[in-house]
Symmetry: C2
Subunit: 340 residues, 2 copies
DNA sequence: CTGTTAGCGCGTTCAT
DNA sequence: ATGAACGCGCTAACAG
């Protein structure tokens, strides 16, 4: 793992331009303290020699890394990769390098926070949509870098996120407005991080909506599953097995909702005639599968987070708590309850 | 963007352990040329002081970057993010940092190859599932680093990929076996990169399969669309508008297939009774939507590519052309043609 | 086995 | 406006 040896260095440029390395350096970076003439010359030579400063040397001399770490748990899921995409776009425009750390299982996650492979390599760490534990938070502090959360809240850190409670209400209220009274909830929970804001907010929305409508929250109508389509399918099977099945289902995510729909159809029931289903996220495939859901601007959340981060790094003033709006998108998976 | 000043350096460790910086350095890296006793001591002190070597300094002194760049066009799509996930896993295990470059539009792509922001920052560049032009290839060469392709072939570079032609055949042959004779193809093309291996191989599979079955390839049965569900939906609308619509559709990807299915259903037709649909990829949602498709191991391709890259970087012998197998997964979107 | 001496390539004072 | 000298933190070469 060795770099090819002979790369043109600052010295080469300086010599060729007939100036000292110091002057060459100034010409290439600061626009200050160099005569226009010499700057021109230096830049010309640099261009001609195809000179590129050694980032290691530059950073060693200057301090700072111009790099940020993105710590993301489930990159394969659309929500996460879309946030990352949004961030990368803004960060690369600002000439910050993006270091990707995929902490998909407990082991890699433990490694990240325990060994801190990113230590001294980045100016900031972005926690992408997951809840960090108190212990992890402490490890992060030892890195002494800026920390920020994208796509969810982490107490004590700046964040950009939706209002999960409000999003949940938009979904459940829609079902209530349609006239449903027996509404089930497919709640998602990540075993690695109980208490993550999404789950909490979306679940609370369900209870508060039913309460306001004067409806009881029956245990038999709430099923908690792990994230994912198959989990949703299984959860739905549980719900259908109850003596008095729901006429509508509120799922914490579109994938779970799609799983539920599969189960419903395989049971010989129709969506939405027999059972309505609503999700959250507005996954690209929700449109294709005619799923009613709550839209949230995912990529934009990433971009917004990155912008916030840039300001923090530059010491500029900025909001440290941004909540982006969501809205209901009615498609074909919801309808009034069957009059039968 | 500045690093906090007082970090413990190698010198601190050395002093505290009563040895020279050089010895400390050796103790911390090489396992060679240091007495067990002193190594113990140095390591203990390092641990106690929570010492971490400055990566910039280390890399400056040693040459090499221990970093690789992942250049990926459409991170939001499952296929791409899954490949990245597979690579990251292997690379981080090998203590290589992953630099992410998302070249999602022409501008960012041009920037990457023209400005070469990764220059001197990485030991290797991984081209994730897209075709680079001759000009881009030349720019890449000036970086003088190892280049490798994941999830598709790029002439002249080592790669890991499926056999698109074979995958396509598995899909089309399935339809033929079911008895279909009017089989349409929804071909995908990325305007930014015509001639990408996926499109070519998957399209050729269609022609060869029909030819072998003694069937003509009708222009009216081939629709070329951009990648994506909505494009697939529109393409399908075109096909349905033909005087003699197909009884089965072969789509180049699952997303396109799902779009086609939506159009078919909205037209009042049933899948698979009236029209069968088969895709390629085995997207996680294909299972949920009961889509017959051709499975390819995506994450594994990423992992395999990373392993290959590691060997290349270490100068170890390795295959430079790996083709991973695919297989048909029959679900509910395909059936024999309607006898009517 | 260990300490000394040089760089690695660039920023940045401090003079001039 | 420019040049000389030093330092960033660590590794490598050479002695001892």
């Amino acid at each position: 793992v060795t770099q090819p040896s002979k790369a043109v260095g600052l010295i080469d440029v300086a010599r060729r331009a007939g100036v000292s390395p110091a002057t060459a350096s100034r010409a290439l970076s600061d626009a200050y303290g160099v005569s226009p003439a010499t700057r021109e010359r230096v830049l010309a030579v640099a261009q001609e020699l195809d000179y590129v400063a050694s980032p290691e040397a530059t950073r060693l001399a200057r301090g700072g890394t111009d790099r940020v770490a993105l710590v993301v748990p489930h990159l394969e899921r659309w929500f996460f990769s879309a946030i990352v995409a949004g961030m990368e776009s803004v960060l690369s425009d600002a000439d910050l390098d993006v270091l990707l750390y995929h902490v998909d299982d407990l082991e890699s996650r433990r490694t990240f926070f325990h060994e801190l492979p990113a230590r001294r390599k980045v100016d900031a760490v972005v926690v992408v949509a997951f809840a960090i534990s108190e212990a992890e938070r402490q490890r992060l502090e030892t890195m002494r870098v800026t920390v920020i959360a994208a796509g969810g809240q982490n107490e004590g850190y700046p964040f950009v996120s939706i209002d999960d409670r409000k999003a949940g209400r938009q979904a459940v209220d829609h079902l209530l407005t349609l006239g449903h009274r027996r509404i089930a909830m497919l709640s998602t929970v990540d075993p690695d991080e109980p208490g993550w804001s999404h789950t909490a907010g979306r679940a609370e929305a369900y209870r508060s909506a039913l309460a306001e409508a004067g409806l009881p929250v029956e245990d038999g109508l709430v099923e908690t599953v792990e994230w994912g389509g198959n989990s949703g399918a299984q959860g739905m099977a549980q719900l259908l097995a109850r003596r008095n099945p729901p006429t509508a289902v509120y799922a914490h995510s579109d994938e779970v909702a799609l799983g539920a729909i599969r189960t419903i159809r395989r049971a010989g029931l129709r969506v939405p005639q027999d059972i309505s289903v609503v999700g959250i996220d507005d996954h690209p495939l929700a449109d294709l599968t005619d799923l009613t859901t709550v839209h949230q601007p995912v990529r934009a959340q990433g971009a917004r987070t990155a912008e916030m981060l840039l300001k923090l790094l530059r010491g500029e003033p900025t909001d440290t708590a941004v909540v982006v709006p969501t809205h209901l998108v009615v498609r074909g998976s919801t309808a009034p309850p069957n009059a039968s």
